[in-house]
């Protein structure tokens, strides 16, 4: 009792503000106070987001090289943009990116939705299976890249032995990461392995949001399971599937770390996705102006896709 009264006394002593400070705060309008609170965030955003973007846009019109920072900078206009947008090598890198994006998104969506559909049927131990399925998603891409490099080893890698077991081929007769035909598929497999659980989670959220009474009404109307799937499950889960497709599409369009660890763009340039080409231009050739223009082209593409993503997200939210 005594303790309680003592603490309340302490609280009472702590609350009053010195008259001068109180008068100063009281003198500020609501709007001024709001500005006071959001100014640090705005300054931080300007410093770490807006300024680098504006600076990159400026550099993309110049011949600036980061390894010769003191050399005079010449204004080139849209030369770099024209050069990139007519370069067959960059076009080829875009096609490698397209192969990677299309196949990973397709495989992840089909497998992810299938897994979500199975997990949604609450069987015994479904919680444990969900946790096991989600594990790859929680790993760092650097770790995944490293251990898949070992799994793909033709001599000691487990992957080759599994393929050999099912196909009857010699395990050391093919190299997933060293073969021109197989290496683009090797990175697709790893990405699908890692990110299918993510798509599954989103699809699961979509499936769980469908009210039971719709299925009950369909049962009353004697609709078959197949009909229920096509007329209820798929249309109602579609906004969520779209969301997963867009998110994975955007993420894979700018994929760098895993491809860099697995193949580094090789063999030759068969797995050289756009971000690897960008890294080579920026930090191996030191063509900063050129790579800035390339980065802006990629940024506009991602920004455009992100707009569609936000639109899809709003549609999901409004449900």
């Amino acid at each position: 009792m005594n303790d309680l009264s003592a603490s309340s006394q302490i609280t009472y002593r702590a609350v009053p503000i010195r008259p001068a400070v109180a008068r100063r705060i009281r003198g500020l309008s609501d709007q001024a106070l709001a500005w006071l609170f959001i100014t640090p965030t705005i300054v931080l955003l300007l410093a770490i987001n807006i300024f680098p973007l504006v600076w990159t846009i400026y550099l993309s019109f110049t011949n600036y090289r980061a390894n010769r920072a003191n050399a005079p900078t010449i204004w080139l206009g849209t030369d770099w943009y024209q050069s990139i947008l007519t370069d067959p090598d960059i076009w080829a890198a875009m096609q490698v990116t397209a192969h990677f994006v299309v196949w990973t998104v397709l495989i992840e969506t089909v497998l992810g939705f299938g897994l979500a559909f199975l997990i949604d049927k609450k069987f015994r131990g479904h919680g444990l299976w969900t946790t096991i399925i989600l594990l790859p998603m929680m790993l760092s891409p650097a770790v995944v890249g490293n251990f898949w490099t070992f799994l793909y080893q033709p001599q000691i890698g487990l992957f080759n032995y599994v393929v050999a077991f099912f196909t009857g081929r010699d395990a050391s007769s093919f190299q997933m990461l060293g073969d021109v035909t197989l290496s683009p598929w090797a990175i697709v497999i790893v990405d699908a392995w890692m990110w299918t659980p993510y798509v599954m989670l989103i699809c699961l959220a979509g499936l769980r949001s469908i009210p039971d009474y719709i299925y009950e009404a369909a049962e009353v109307d004697r609709a078959s399971n197949w009909r229920q799937f096509w007329s209820i499950t798929l249309p109602m889960a579609l906004p969520f599937i779209m969301l997963a497709v867009l998110f994975r599409g955007i993420e894979n369009f700018k994929m760098f770390d895993m491809v860099n660890l697995l193949t580094g763009g090789g063999p030759g340039s068969t797995t050289e996705v756009a971000s690897i080409t960008l890294k080579r231009a920026a930090f191996e050739s030191w063509r900063t102006g050129y790579s800035s223009a390339f980065a802006i082209i990629l940024f506009v593409t991602v920004f455009g896709l992100a707009n569609i993503y936000v639109k899809a997200l709003n549609r999901v939210k409004s449900r």
Binding site: Y81, W91, A98, V101, V300, G304, L305, N307
Partner: protein
């Protein structure tokens, strides 16, 4: 006179239907998607060359029309 009034109403109705956020956003989204497809398609270099302009146009259009009333 009544003809004029009807025409103006019709015209306003058409403008109201077109100049709304939904349809305009759909157009901008289609342009962005077309730009991304043009960027990644393996068939025509000319389409690839115009992809950035198309995506940029779509993105700017989307940013503007998202401020238009519902």
């Amino acid at each position: 006179m009544s003809l004029d009034a009807n025409t103006s109403t019709l015209r306003r109705g058409l403008a109201d239907r077109i100049l709304r956020r939904g349809p305009l956003e759909a157009i901008a989204t289609t342009i962005i998607a077309a730009g991304v497809v043009m960027l990644m398609q393996p068939f025509f270099l000319t389409l690839y060359s115009w992809s950035f302009t198309t995506t940029l146009f779509g993105t700017v259009m989307f940013t503007i029309v998202s401020k238009v009333r519902e």
